[in-house]
Symmetry: C2
Subunit: 356 residues, 2 copies
C-alpha cells in the first residue's frame, strides 16, 4: 500500500492506494467515531463490493442509487438524505461513497449538507475517480441547465483507492480515466508524461504496479494544487486543461455519448493546437500529446460538429454563470498556464486544426 496526504491544515487527509484495500478494516477504523455508518453506492457497484465494505466498516445502512449521471440530481440527494435520516446517522456518523465519480460527487454533496456537514470517506472504484474526482473535496449535482451547478467543497476524511477494483472496470472507462492521468502529466509534470509514454501499454493491461504508480502520481500532483488553492481561486484551474473544449463536446453530442475522459482527450488536443497557435508549444510537442492519447485508445479529434457549433457551446458555457472563462494552455509539456487573452479566431482555428 502507498499513502500520501492532502495538506489542508485541519482538513488534511490521507489517500491510500493499493490492491485489496477495500476490505481492510484498519483503513476504516480511524474514521469510526462511535456513530453510525452508511454506505452510498449504485446498482452496478453494489453487487461487486458492497458486502466487503460493509463488513470492513461495520456499516449499518446502505443507500443504493441508480447507475449513471442522472443520479446527480436533486432527487438523488433527497434519496441519499432520506436514507441517512432513516439510518439515524448523527454528526458523529460517517458516510462512505463507494463507486465512481457520480457516486462520489452525490454522496459527498449529501454528506456536505446533511446536518450542515457530516464526515465522509471516498472509496473510488473507477480509475477516473481514483485519479481525479475523489481527491480535492469538490462535490456536486447537475442542473438541467448545467453540470455541477449545485455543490459544495467538502473534503473527505480519507480516500481508499483499491486498484484491484479496476479489474471489473470496462475498458472504455479505464481509457477515460487514463485521459485524466495524462492531463495531470501534461499540465504539471513532464517526467510523468515520459513515464506514461513508456508505460501506457502496461496501464492498459491493468498491470498492478503501473496502475498504482499512475494513481499515486496523479493524486500527488492534484493534492499539491488543491493544497495551494482549495476553492479554485487560482492554480486549481490548471487542472481544467482540455475542459472548456471538452465540456462543449459533451454538451454538443448529448451527455453520455462521449465519456468525460474521451471529451477531455479531444479537448486536450484542441488546447495543444491552441497553444501551438499562440506560440507556446512546438509542433513536435503537439504530436507527442496526440500520440500519447492515441496510444491510450482515446479520441484525438472532436465529434462531427461544425466548429461554429462548438464555439457557440463554449460561449454558452461562459454565459452559463460560470464567471469569466479563461483557457488553460500549455507553455510546454508538463507546464500549463491560464490565459484570458485568447481570441475567438485562434480558438476556432485550434478546433479546425484538431479535426485534421
Amino acid at each position: 500500500m502507498e499513502s500520501l496526504s492532502v495538506a489542508l491544515g485541519s482538513r488534511s487527509y490521507p489517500i491510500h492506494i493499493g490492491p485489496g484495500l477495500i476490505s481492510s478494516r484498519e483503513l476504516y477504523a480511524p474514521h469510526l467515531a462511535g456513530g453510525r455508518v452508511a454506505i452510498v453506492t449504485n446498482t452496478v457497484v453494489a453487487p461487486l463490493y458492497l458486502k466487503a465494505v460493509k463488513q470492513a466498516s461495520a456499516a449499518v445502512a446502505e443507500i443504493v442509487v441508480a447507475d449513471g449521471e442522472q443520479a446527480k440530481s436533486w432527487q438523488g440527494v433527497e434519496q441519499v438524505v432520506d436514507g441517512l435520516i432513516a439510518a439515524r446517522l448523527g454528526r458523529d456518523g460517517l458516510v462512505i461513497a463507494l463507486g465512481g465519480g457520480v457516486v462520489g460527487d452525490l454522496a459527498g454533496f449529501a454528506a456536505a449538507v446533511y446536518q450542515r456537514g457530516v464526515p465522509f470517506l471516498q472509496v473510488p472504484t473507477t480509475l477516473l475517480a481514483q485519479v481525479d474526482s475523489s481527491v480535492g473535496g469538490k462535490t456536486a449535482i447537475n442542473h438541467a441547465l448545467g453540470k455541477n451547478l449545485i455543490g459544495a467543497f467538502h473534503q473527505p476524511r480519507a480516500v481508499i483507492s483499491d486498484v484491484a477494483t479496476l479489474d471489473s472496470l470496462p475498458e472504455r472507462e479505464l481509457r477515460s480515466g487514463i485521459a485524466e492521468v495524462i492531463k495531470h502529466g501534461l499540465a504539471l509534470d513532464a517526467a510523468f508524461v515520459e513515464w506514461l509514454e513508456s508505460s501506457i501499454e502496461k496501464i492498459l493491461k491493468k498491470d498492478r504496479a503501473a496502475l498504482v504508480h499512475a494513481v499515486r502520481r496523479s493524486c500527488e500532483l492534484k493534492a499539491r494544487i488543491v493544497a495551494q488553492d482549495e476553492r479554485e481561486a487560482g492554480a486549481r484551474a490548471l487542472l481544467n486543461l482540455g475542459h472548456t473544449f471538452g465540456h462543449a463536446i459533451e454538451a454538443g453530442t448529448g451527455y453520455g455519448a462521449w465519456l468525460h475522459g474521451e471529451a477531455i482527450a479531444a479537448g486536450m488536443v484542441m488546447a495543444a493546437e491552441l497553444s501551438l497557435l499562440m506560440g507556446h508549444l512546438k509542433k513536435t510537442e503537439v504530436s507527442r500529446v496526440r500520440d500519447l492519447l492515441k496510444r491510450a485508445g482515446l479520441p484525438v479529434r472532436g465529434p462531427a460538429l461544425a466548429p461554429e457549433r462548438l464555439m457557440e457551446l463554449m460561449a454558452l458555457d461562459k454565459k452559463a454563470a460560470k464567471g469569466q472563462t479563461r483557457f488553460v494552455v500549455l507553455e510546454a509539456i508538463g507546464r500549463a498556464a491560464l490565459r484570458a487573452d485568447v481570441d475567438d479566431a485562434a480558438v476556432r482555428q485550434a478546433v479546425v486544426a484538431a479535426a485534421q
Copy 2:
C-alpha cells in the same frame, strides 16, 4: 449607525445596525464585485422593501418565495437556484437575503450550494432575524422528519439590520424576537438582563434607541460565541438555551401554532426550573426569568400537553440523528452551561413546575 464585526479570520464580516440602512448604497457597494446581484425575498416583504433594496444594490433579479416556514424546503431551494441561473449569476455575483429568518436560511443555503458557494448579504427585516438567525452563518432547510436537517455553514459578507423595518413587524413577531434577545442575556450577560428589565417597555414600543441597543448587544454576544466556535463543536451550543424544550413544544403543537420565540420563552422557563432543581439557580432567579418573559408578553407556561408527550418529543428529537442531546442550564442569570448528566425525572419535574 452602529457597526460591529464577527471575527472569523478571512470570513470576518461587519454587522451594521440603524434606522434607514436598507436603502443606503454605501453599505452594499463594498460587496458588489462587478458581478450580477439577485435579491431573494418573500411575498410579504417584497411589497414593502424590495424596491428600495433593488435601487440601493443595483440588483438585476428578484426571486420571491412563498411566505412562511414551508419555503424552507427542497422546492424552495430549487426555486431560488433556478432563479440564480436565470439571472446568470456567476461566482462574482451576490445574493441578497431580504426578509426574516426563513428567507435568510433559505437564501443563505441556496448561496452556499449554488456553484459551490457564492457571496451573500443578510438584510434581516424581523427582530428575530436581526438578533439571531442572520448572524453566524447557519443556513438550512427543513425535512419532513426534522427542522434544519439539511444545511450549510456559509457566512454572509455583511449583515445590514435596518431597525426601521421593524415598524412593519406584527407585535406578536416582535415579541417572538424579544425572546431571543432575552435568551442572549440569560445565557451570557447579566448586565444585559438588567438593562432589559429596565427597558422592556421601550422595546415593546419600538423605541429606536432601545431597539438599536437590543440588536447590537445581542449581535455582540452571539458574534463572540460564533468567533470561538463557528461550527458548534462546543460553546455555540449555549445559544440553544430553552431550545430542547422549545423544539418539543413546536413539534407537539404543530409547527406554526406557536412562534419559535414563544416556544423558546416557555422552554427557557423550563430550563430555569431544571436549573433550580439541579441546585444551580435560586428561586428568586427563576422568578426573574419568568417575570421578564411575562412583561415581554411571552408565554411562560408550556402548551396543554401532557408532560409525558413533551418527554417523548424530546426523546424523538434526540433520536432524530442530532447526535447526543445535552441540556443548556443556567448556573446564574447571565451564565449558561452545557450538562449531559441530566436525568429524565428532573426534566419531567421541570416541565411540571413550569406549568404551575
